[in-house]
Amino acid sequence: MTPGDSTILRFEDVSLHFDGTAALDHVSFQVSPGQTYVVLGAAGSGKTMLLKVAVGLVRPDSGRVWLFDQEITRLREQDLFDMRARVGILFQEGGLFDSLTVAENVAYPLTNQRVLQHAAAANSNGNGAARTVEERVRESLRFVELEQTLDKFPNELSGGMRRRVGIARAVVAEPALLLYDSPTAGLDPITANTIVALILKERDLRNTATIMVTHRYQDGHLMANFRYNPNSGQIERAGGGRDLSQVSTKFLVMNEGRLVFEGTEPELQGSQDSYVRKFLRAGGA
């Protein structure tokens, strides 16, 4: 764990308190390129705060956070904008802008980010750039199979569709890190599996480092054991010696702000920690 190594995200002894109770309690871990992290934990265990601290939306009380090898704990908001441009986030409560259409929502990361504005300003051919934005929005919505909703408003869509629009917006700028906050919460099992399939597809097509927060152990199991096959266009069980998704998927279990477990799925299954065991039993694992 030398700072010289290339990491996507690193937490070092991060704590965050709200009115005396710890939302994050001395949390340390690190995510390498191409890795998948599945964060499990009960309601209020600090999963959302973990993600928000990771991109500087919330500042920790103590500890340090590196995003793409740059320490962000003390960065100004203006400088954080550039860092966040390389991260895609699906928010637990959606975070879609009510006042914008689906297409405008998905285009937002492309049209708004300052990095891209600079690039567009440098590129004198403004017309060509505008067309690319529209193409990329369509492509991203096609990816989540919602191309027909371009001109709808978010509140005209179902919960599962909104989640998919959220994913389209998160992936449209081809980020190097994707954060999904409870992507399957409140959805029926079938829709939930479609959502996880999309997350797998994005991860395996572009080999994006992914952190998925969930309270369903099932989601983590899918992330660790299945992969998207670009040839068949299907999700299939990962197997064979060449397949690394098993080892590159790690689980974190949180309880009242503390990380009580970090490791692979077999290690999780074999964990003797009483909270982890209780959590797995309740999740039907």
Binding site: K52, R84, V87, G95, Q113
Partner: protein, 238 residues
């Protein structure tokens, strides 16, 4: 803190003129009718009250002056601001509050937009422009209401009423009558945005923020009008 950042943003980019115009429309055009109506009746009520008192001293000719001074210095700005606080401090707090609890504000920050620049500053600019205008309209309609009473009940002519109403006003009355709505606009915008942006606790939290925004901004309007009048009198009327 919010205030400092919102003001600083007025002078630096990026600007969102569309949002400013939308807010001016929502706040200005939306409040015009109710502000006019209340302005009209406050003028009428005041003229009625004054008519009785002034007739006792045979001074009914001065009704225009009294209505004019009270409206322009005090009642116009305060009533208009309290109405706009009721309509728009609540509207702003609930709109920003629901954006907060659905993580739209976080999403904005995550996607490189400063929510103060995008949400607070346009509302501040819109209110600071629109509230003085609404106040002027309200003052004028109030005076018209006063004229209606003065002419029907006291038999004053058009020019008797309006000349005395106009001549009594000094520049510093007008200045006071415009400074107040400007200050109140800032209070309404910042209080509404402040409670909206720090909403927590889901939809219930939005309700709480809305109520607090109206109560807090209304109280500040009354406190500040007293303060401004006091300071003003010390400076100009010694």
């Amino acid at each position: 803190m919010l205030g400092i950042r919102a003001f600083r943003n007025i002078f630096r980019g990026p600007h969102y003129p569309d949002d400013i115009f939308i807010q001016m429309d929502v706040i200005g055009v939306g409040s015009l009718f109710i502000v006019s109506l209340i302005g009209l009746f406050s003028g009428i009520v005041m003229a009625l009250q004054m008519a009785r008192a002034l007739t006792q001293y045979g001074a009914q000719g001065q009704v225009g002056q009294i209505v004019s001074i009270t409206l322009v210095r005090e009642l116009g700005p305060v009533l208009t601001a309290v109405l706009v606080a009721g309509r728009n401090a609540s509207g702003i707090a609930s709109e920003l509050g629901s954006m907060k609890v659905t993580e739209q504000i976080d999403a904005m920050r995550a996607l490189g937009t400063d929510p103060i620049q995008k949400l607070v500053t346009p509302r501040l600019i819109a209110l600071a422009t629109v509230l003085p205008l609404l106040t002027i309209i309200s003052d004028f309609i109030g005076l018209t209401g006063g004229y209606f009473i003065a002419s029907t009940m006291l038999g004053l002519t058009f020019s008797e009423y309006w000349t005395s109403a106009w001549q009594i006003l000094e520049y510093n009355d007008l200045a006071q009558g415009l400074l107040k709505p400007l200050v109140f606009a800032i209070i309404i915008a910042l209080v509404g945005c402040f409670y909206g942006m720090r909403t927590t606790g889901g939809t219930q939290g939005v309700g709480r923020s809305t109520t607090r925004a109206v109560v807090t901004s209304s109280v500040w309007i009354f406190v500040l009008t007293a303060f401004i009048t006091y300071v003003w009198n010390r400076i100009f009327v010694t």
